[in-house]
Amino acid sequence: MQRRDFLNALALGAGIVLPLGPHAWAATASASATRRKLVVVMLRGAVDGLNVVAPVGDENYLRLRPTIGLAAPGMEGGALDLDGYFGLHPALASLQPLWQHKKLAFVHASGSPDATRSHFDAQDYMESATPGRKNTPDGWMNRLVAALPGSATPSRLLGIGPVMPRILAGTAAAVNLPNVASAAKADVLDRPEVAAAFDALYGGHPRFGRAYADGRSAHREVLDTAIEKDHDSAPMMAADRGAPLPNGFPDDAARLATLMRNDPRIQLAFVALGGWDTHAAQGAGSGQLANRLAPLGQGLALLAERLGPLFDDTLVVVMSEFGRTARENGNGGTDHGHGNVMWLLGGNVNGGKVYGEWEGVGDAALNEGRDLPVNTDFRSVLAQVSERHLLLGDKQLAQVFPAMPQRTAAFQVVKG
């Protein structure tokens, strides 16, 4: 506690000394806090956590899932052994080295305490971090960036996706980049005459002036980074011979890593991926779910690889609005459930372990007789990340996660 307060004071004090330039700024003592990064990957549509980290050692597992259950480790298409009881989906083989190096951990039977099985409400709650409360105006990542020490720049809070997500909405500036790698290209507003015309229209405009200004400054920041990066990442590009990656996420993950390496101001990043609502024909070791998990795993592994040493200061959280039914339904799929599994990756993770209170998947252990219970509130995991990794103080923690239940996670998945 005392040590953390000291660090906060240090970080705050250093933040007051205005930097002369981004690089000089990054080299100051304030970097001890701002160097720490958080990347949140949200799987919209409720990924089937029981087939991501599958309790293959539970006698009930294959009884509940006769056609979609993962085979035991060692069998064809079987799960990859994690700890003798849980097995990782084989499509996530690219994450195995991170598990072995103890930079990957899971929190099972976790999620939102709210009982809703609506995708949209549950995503909203996970993004506002106020389950059950719909009128929260902002997202928790926006509150988090406001609470962190250091000066605000628009690119400090970054989203990648077609639209500004709820989790980034709020009073602090945030930037959203489109998925395709076109963000770092010159645009029409780089022509001085056009820029002057639209600056006049949008400058000080009460409704759109801020969004316009944020867009311009973010574009300049990204352009500067892109110009610097060319020589910097050339060896990396040469190593994979410029081959396009198979699916969208690895591309975005690679670009995110490049942006983060080149722009020390980027501290919090968010990516959302869809296509997890597998009500029918989700498959087991191969099939629909496997086809979605594979590029996700590849992208995460690529992010870790391309961040290089920065990965040790980065924590990646993968989460989804709720889990899916423990039993497969009549169509080789699963319906909306409750508890799920959270994934944590990074140098500050106490990895190589599946955390969380686990009671098995016997009938008596299931929530409402149909799905995993939520034994760990997702906010207590995020709070631990904020506190131990991002060095957030108690007061700020209460701002980011208001009305948090008293009970904190009984485990330490994040290193202190």
Binding site: F120, L189, A197, L201, A211, A218, G275, N329, G330, H336
Partner: protein, 509 residues
Amino acid sequence: MRPHPLPVLLLCAALCAQPALAGAAPPAPPAPLAPEQQAAHVLNRLAFGPRPGDVERVTRMGVGRWIDEQLQPEAIALPAALAARLDGLGTVTRSAGASLEEYLALRRQVRDEDEGARQRRRERDARVAREAAEARLLRALESPRQLEEVMVDFWYNHFNVFAGKGIDRALVTSYENEAIRPHALGSFRDLLGATAKHPAMLFYLDNAVSSAPDPNPKAKRKGGLNENYARELMELHTLGVDGGYTQQDVTELARMLTGWTFDQRRLAAGGEGFRFDPKRHDQGSKIWLGQAIAPDGQREGERALDVLALHPTTARHVSRQLAQYFVSDDPPQALVERMTATWRASGGDIRAVLRTLFASPEFMSTEAAGAKFKTPYQFVLSALRASGVAVANVGPLTNTMSQLGMPLYGCQTPDGYKNTQEAWLNPDALTRRIAFATALAGGRLPLAAFQPATQPATQSAPAPLPLDPAALQAALAGSLSPRTLGIVSQGPARLRAAMLLGSPDFMQR
């Protein structure tokens, strides 16, 4: 609260030139909208923005009369040129069965690793997608039945089906033309039933494969319940997520709807869309929304739709969504309540509910005018309409919608696209809209003719001309602020058209 009798509402619509009538009017609004502003307002809301001459025409005929006309689209003829172009879109005019037959045949050929089948399938998919977009966008741009097209946009998102899911690629045009458009201003119960029974929805939300659990566990094809459609039917289509139902109600409704399905082969071969399969139906009794439901086959589902369509909670939920689409992101509760009352009194007559909405002082108010941030769809369409440019190739329109995060028929989730500012306003979106406005105003969008990539360009199409800023300004009369007009008049002449279409005023409707 009882609704106003209909004649009073009609009178109110006709008299909207003098807003804030006595009666249910809220506290006196600020300066009322001038006639030209009213015309621009209704063209921005009941249409996809004004075309050149529209504001003048609607001002002259009176907004009340124009609204009445729009509420009766069946009495408005489509222009012959538009009808002829729509008739020429072969993959749109054919039946769902014919479309599916072609889709399945090509899929078989690809599976048989027929040489060239993949290429043929790619070309077919591209043509189906292009023609579907063309049909939708041409109507939205050129149909004089603008409110009908606006309601197609609204209801398609309300009952969203994602074209990228399997066979739905072949079915969405039929879904839009047979389940949505005919009921866009009709009875909500009919609309609900048409969407419930269309193969595109049965496939998208999996009800087609839902069935009673098979008592024989060794049966080759295992049956089982799929809750997907039943849940979204209550959560999104009718009651709303806070509609007071439980997980048990979802399961019970799913059981009542077992057997509501379609058969791909029968659809492809004989055009049979919906079928009720008694073998899949759960014959047991159910308890749904507190009511005991005796076993009654297909009628269980029909009664469920009856109950849901007329449920007060549905009336309020959908009324609020309509008010949000047409008035403001957070619409006035008093208006929602009056629309709800009309819904209940009229048995879910969409036209009557809209009449209440359009006749309300809340709709025809200075607070409402310009309050909505355009969705990418509305922004692109309104820019083309204001420009008066003829569109032969819709490619630049669909590409821009995709870049802005709103690909046509491409919303993956069943809640459809939102229409609020919070959902669409972000820094990147403004830059992209400005880029589109600048390209359109400069005559640099390839709108003239569609050239398949496989064919060499025989003769270059006539290059579209840069837009005339004076004509654009006249077309947009009533929705441009003095601030914008002042700044534009100071701008370089060749950028003025771009400045108008990229202005803050043009981002809102």
